[in-house]
């Protein structure tokens, strides 16, 4: 019998310390947690749900993407807070930050104490807890590990190893003393969660007014945020010299920015009656969510070197041409959000090499001054070899699109 006692003792000792902390965190703050519901007016049913948390007695933070529908179609939806007591109360939007996917809402008066924001980030490996209402199953607390800032990301995100699930968006992640370190925003599956840092919440609260602004003012704010963001993202790319490397006879940028990641692949060189191809594609894993049908704020590039020396010129050309016949934007955009692409195509001398250059532009219908740009270039085949370069920019101004295209055309060339 003694071994049973020993095992029981062992189990008691093995009971993690965090269980206690999680329990404390949850019981201390569960009243400051709400479920944010977007209610469709016609059916009076939930159209979207997320989580939110009180940062003061009447202010709630959630994700912009939770409440985006309300901003896009104000008349069709209303925002409600489910306070857990079965009562639903109205929420009003005070301010949004689309770049960091945050929204500040005015909520019914909170009787208990709100969440406090942490002054600093925890150390890597420290225990953190993510709170929220996953899949509308009720409020939960999920333990996780803080793993520093997300690498290779233009938009600052904390990397938390722990289960963040749909519905928990907008809920807080807190440290072991219950202070908010950030706002749950996304998951990459397999316990990889992303959290918007608390600094962004502070910034949003600092610049938000105390009254509920008109929708037009909010929209103007969103436009200004998008304009400032694209400037911030492209300025260093436009001013810094790009480090170039060779891809066949083409020159391609090595790493134009830490947040743009490149992947490469190539075909089998030995295969007969075929075109050898080596390609690199670079892109960003994150983007700015504006609505269900519109995302923006990303850059993507592709390069391909083609060698079909043993093919007859016309046969090589036939397949080379097919490679540039179809192209599309990298961001999601619907008919209501953007105009159709308007394109021009010409044979341009790039570093003395005749090149078919295609440049297409489409404008944002709701954000005047913002465009998506698409560029595609293919050198005129010389000895059955070709070089294709391509980029798309989402949500940029005319000046930045042209400046980026110019820099790209000057840098990404054929070198004989």
């Amino acid at each position: 019998m003694w071994y049973r006692v020993f095992c029981g003792l062992g189990l008691m000792l093995a009971q993690p310390v965090w269980a206690d902390t999680a329990q404390n965190v949850f019981s201390n703050y569960q009243d400051a947690l709400i479920q944010v519901q977007v209610i469709e007016n016609q059916t009076q049913r939930k159209s979207a749900i997320g989580s939110g948390f009180y940062v003061s007695n009447n202010l709630v933070i959630t994700n912009y993407h939770v409440i985006a529908e309300k901003i896009q179609q104000q008349q069709q939806y209303q925002l409600m807070a489910n306070l857990g007591t079965g009562s639903n109360q109205q929420l009003d939007i005070i301010a949004v930050d689309v770049i960091n996917d945050l929204a500040l809402l005015r909520a019914p008066q909170l009787q208990q104490h709100p969440f406090t924001l942490a002054g600093s980030l925890p150390a890597q490996g420290e225990q953190v807890f993510s709170l929220g209402n996953p899949h509308d199953l009720g409020m939960v607390v999920v333990p996780g590990t803080f793993n520093g800032m997300k690498q290779q990301s233009f938009y600052p995100r904390l990397h938390v190893t722990g289960s963040i699930n749909p519905g928990m968006s907008g809920g807080p992640s807190v440290n072991s003393t219950g202070e908010v370190i950030g706002v749950n925003v996304a998951t990459a599956g397999n316990q990889i969660g992303f959290v918007v840092p608390v600094a962004q919440v502070n910034t949003l609260m600092a610049r938000a007014g105390s009254t509920v602004p008109e929708m037009a003012v909010l929209q103007q704010q969103i436009l200004q945020q998008l304009l400032a963001n694209q400037q911030q993202m492209l300025s260093p790319l436009l001013s810094d010299a790009w480090k170039m490397q060779a891809l066949g006879n083409g020159r391609v940028p090595e790493d134009i920015a830490p947040f743009v990641q490149c992947w490469g692949r190539s075909s089998d060189r030995k295969e007969v009656n075929s075109i050898y191809s080596a390609s690199a594609s670079c892109g960003q894993s994150e983007e700015i969510y504006l609505s269900q049908s519109l995302t923006t704020g990303k850059l993507e590039m592709q390069f391909e070197w083609l060698d079909g020396t043993d093919l007859p010129p016309l046969k090589f050309n036939h397949h080379y041409q097919a490679k540039i016949a179809y192209s599309n934007a990298d961001n999601r955009a619907g008919k209501r959000d953007i105009t159709e692409f308007s394109c021009q195509s010409d044979i341009v001398a790039l570093a003395n090499q005749a090149t078919r250059v295609i440049f297409c532009v489409r404008a944002y219908k709701d954000y005047p001054g913002l465009f998506d740009a698409l560029y595609m270039a293919a050198t005129i085949a010389d000895g059955q070899q070709g070089f294709i370069s391509h980029f798309t920019l989402a949500g940029v101004t005319q000046d930045n699109a042209k400046a980026f295209a110019r820099k790209f055309m000057e840098a990404v060339v054929w070198q004989s």
Partner: protein, 334 residues
């Protein structure tokens, strides 16, 4: 005065024409008649035509079972033939009576298609055109075949079937001609179809060269609209000419109808998904470039137009949206 009797088929087309100078003409199924009818609904002695003292022709029913009916379908027992061109039905046999001074239509001059006929009828032309089309198809299979596992040679077996498919149109027209009692003109129709296919291939080669060098300028754009349309119009016009359609308006109508399909079909298709951009992507090997490439500056300068146009289109949409009170452009997506 001599009289002419035209036997007509059910569509009113003349199948027999007889001229008589005698004063009495008998019509019926019996072998002793002047006009021997084949229609089983006519009697052995169905009717007679007689010239009276006033030099007037009379058609008399010989108490036949199914009678003689005039143009309005009324049964007549005796009818004076007062004017040339009157029609009667004996049983189910239609016939028309004409006097020898009946006016005839003006002589039709040989039109384009008929002058082209000897050329189109030449077997050499037909064989050459079919061979060229087969070669083009073979070239395209070869062009597409890439990689070690490419089996473009097997696809060559498809060529006879594809040629047969192209021959469907001439075959259809020949069949139609056959049914309507016209000359089928199968070989000229085939030669015309395959010649047009060869011309179409030539146009495609020219279009590639034009698009490569001129991008989407007025000339290459205009030609890509005009030339295919002209080729199709010519093709259908001559096709129907070979069919000898008498009514000009019908020929014009059919030609326009069939040619318009080339434009109507793409227009009917659902618009491309995801708003994919449309652009000129023609590439050819370097020796085909017949002009100086432009500069980066000039390309970027002219790109201002793209920004202007799309911004104006976006502006238009914004203005169309109902502005509800304090609502800004985003608030309503209707």
């Amino acid at each position: 005065m001599a009289i002419l009797i035209e036997l007509l088929n059910s569509q009113g087309r003349v199948i027999e024409r007889h001229k008589f100078n005698q004063q009495q003409i008998s019509l019926g199924r019996g072998y002793h008649n002047d006009i021997i009818l084949l229609d089983p609904h006519s009697c052995a002695e169905h009717a007679i035509l007689t010239l009276d003292e006033q030099q007037q022709w009379q058609l008399t029913d010989m108490d036949s079972v199914n009678g003689v009916r005039n143009q309005r379908g009324q049964r007549v027992s005796q009818q004076l033939i007062s004017k040339s061109g009157q029609e009667f039905t004996l049983g189910r046999q239609r016939l028309r009576l004409l006097f020898s001074d009946h006016p005839i239509a003006a002589t039709q001059p040989l039109h384009g298609a008929e002058r082209l006929l000897p050329l189109l009828s030449s077997p050499l032309l037909l064989i050459c055109a079919v061979l060229l089309v087969a070669l083009t198809l073979g070239y395209e299979f070869w062009l597409d075949g890439l990689g070690e596992d490419s089996q473009w040679q097997r696809q060559l077996l498809l060529i006879p079937f594809l040629l047969l498919m192209f021959a469907l149109w001439p075959l259809l027209l020949a069949l139609w001609a056959r049914f309507t009692g016209r000359e089928p003109q199968l070989r000229p129709q085939l030669a015309l179809t395959f010649s047009v296919l060869v011309l179409w291939t030539c146009w495609e080669a020219l279009a590639a060269l034009l698009h490569f060098n001129l991008n989407n300028n007025m000339l290459s754009q205009g030609l890509s609209y005009l030339l295919p349309t002209a080729l199709l119009l010519l093709f259908f016009w001559f096709s129907f000419s070979l069919l000898s359609i008498k009514r000009r308006w019908l020929q014009v109508g059919l030609t326009l109808l069939f040619s318009s399909f080339y434009w109507v079909y793409p227009w009917m298709q659902p618009s491309p998904l995801h708003y994919a951009p449309q652009y000129q992507h023609q590439l050819l090997p370097a020796p085909w470039l017949l002009r100086q490439p432009t500069s980066t500056d000039s390309l970027l300068d002219s790109s201002d137009r793209l920004f202007r146009n799309t911004a104006a289109r976006a502006e238009q949409t914004r203005n169309k949206k109902p502005q509800q009170g304090q609502l800004g452009p985003l608030a309503s997506n209707e």
